[in-house]
């Protein structure tokens, strides 16, 4: 009859649980970083595509500018 080796079983459970925790956390972090990256195809603004030096920058306040 095979008896359960409790120390070995405990060691395996803890070791594999820690390895799994580390792998899951690393994968989750990488996935989160990918989510924050820019997409390959996305809708952009006209100013992002066509910009001539001297054009008004985004967020720049120009008073009395009604073009």
């Amino acid at each position: 009859m095979v008896t359960l080796n409790i120390p070995l079983f405990t060691w395996c459970v803890i070791a594999f649980a820690m390895v799994a925790l580390i792998i899951i956390r690393v994968c989750y972090k990488n996935y989160s970083q990918i989510q924050h990256q820019r997409h390959l195809i996305e809708f952009g603004k006209e100013s992002e595509e066509i910009f001539i030096p001297g054009d008004r920058l985004e967020g720049q306040e120009v008073y009395d500018d009604e073009d």
């Binding site: 409790i6 120390p7 070995l8 405990t10 060691w11 803890i14 070791a15 820690m18 925790l21 580390i22 956390r25």
Partner: protein, 275 residues
């Protein structure tokens, strides 16, 4: 004929007495209490806290009296002629123990005392210091593991024991960081980390890898020993701050008890005799 020489009075604006720099006693009190709360939260002893705060208060030409409780600071600031005073009770900033913040706050107090910074500049510098980001967690993890492996060597552990202690500490400390992020109770964290580290530290005994398995188990949980609370408790006791001293001692004892529970649990599961 006697002439009465009048002392130059501080200007009074809308019922609030202003000091020479135009700051009110209230502003000094709020700043000093915030400073004290951060310094205590960063792991400073009561004697250091008292000295630093008094040093700055004297530089601001004020007097300060405070009661340091385990989780609160009760502070009264008054001007030299005691015509105006302000009392404020602030709660301890529950930041992690940080030697960096501790040192920089002490430097700030010396800069104020030496006259290199006025009140406004001191406030700005204080705000910069408290926004200091924490040390890189991965670096701390690696260094703590190396330190524990070195402890194992100091206690006479061989190379396999050192490697096992390094991995056991790495796993336990990583678990501690993850659980701290999840805001789990510190006592539960200590029990869990001590259990995990002791089970992994028993690898040497389980697989017969080296000659010093008992040292590997014993030193695998050393990173959890609350050394700073014990040292601060002793320092506070010598300085006569018995309430803070007792509070810190009890806190350290509870954490040590939790560590022991985890360690005993791990050793029991791994069939390793304690005595």
């Amino acid at each position: 004929m006697m002439t009465k020489i009048e002392q130059p009075m501080a200007p009074v604006t809308a019922g609030i007495r202003m000091t020479r720099e135009g700051e009110t006693v209230k502003k000094y009190c709020l700043f000093l209490s915030e400073y004290a709360a951060w310094l205590l939260g960063a792991g400073a002893t009561c004697i250091r806290l008292e000295r630093n705060v008094k040093r700055m208060a004297e530089a601001f030409d004020h007097e300060v009296v405070m009661t340091i409780m385990p989780r609160h600071i009760h502070m009264t600031v008054c001007n030299r002629d005691r015509s105006d005073s302000y009392t404020y009770i602030t709660a301890l900033r529950t930041s992690m123990i940080s030697f960096d913040i501790n040192t920089r706050l002490s430097e700030l107090s010396w800069a104020v005392a030496d006259g290199r910074l006025d009140f406004r500049q001191a406030e700005a510098e204080f705000n910069r210091i408290v926004k200091t980001p924490q040390a890189d967690k991965r670096l701390v993890l690696l260094l703590a593991s190396c330190a524990n492996a070195s402890f194992c060597r100091l206690f006479g552990g061989d190379l396999p024991a050192m490697a096992i202690v390094f991995i056991a500490t790495l796993a336990g400390y990583y678990l501690k960081q993850v659980l701290c992020e999840q805001k789990v109770d510190m006592r539960i964290i200590f029990i869990m980390c001590a259990f995990v580290s002791s089970v992994l530290g028993a690898t040497d005994a389980l697989f017969h890898l080296g000659q010093t398995p008992e040292i590997a188990i014993g030193t695998s949980v050393l990173y959890l020993v609350p050394g700073i609370p014990f040292l601060n408790s002793f320092s506070d006791m010598l300085a006569g701050h018995y309430i803070c001293s007792f509070s810190r001692f009890m806190h350290a004892m509870i954490l040590t008890g939790c560590l022991s529970i985890g360690l005993c649990g791990g050793m029991m599961m791994m069939n390793i005799g304690m005595f």
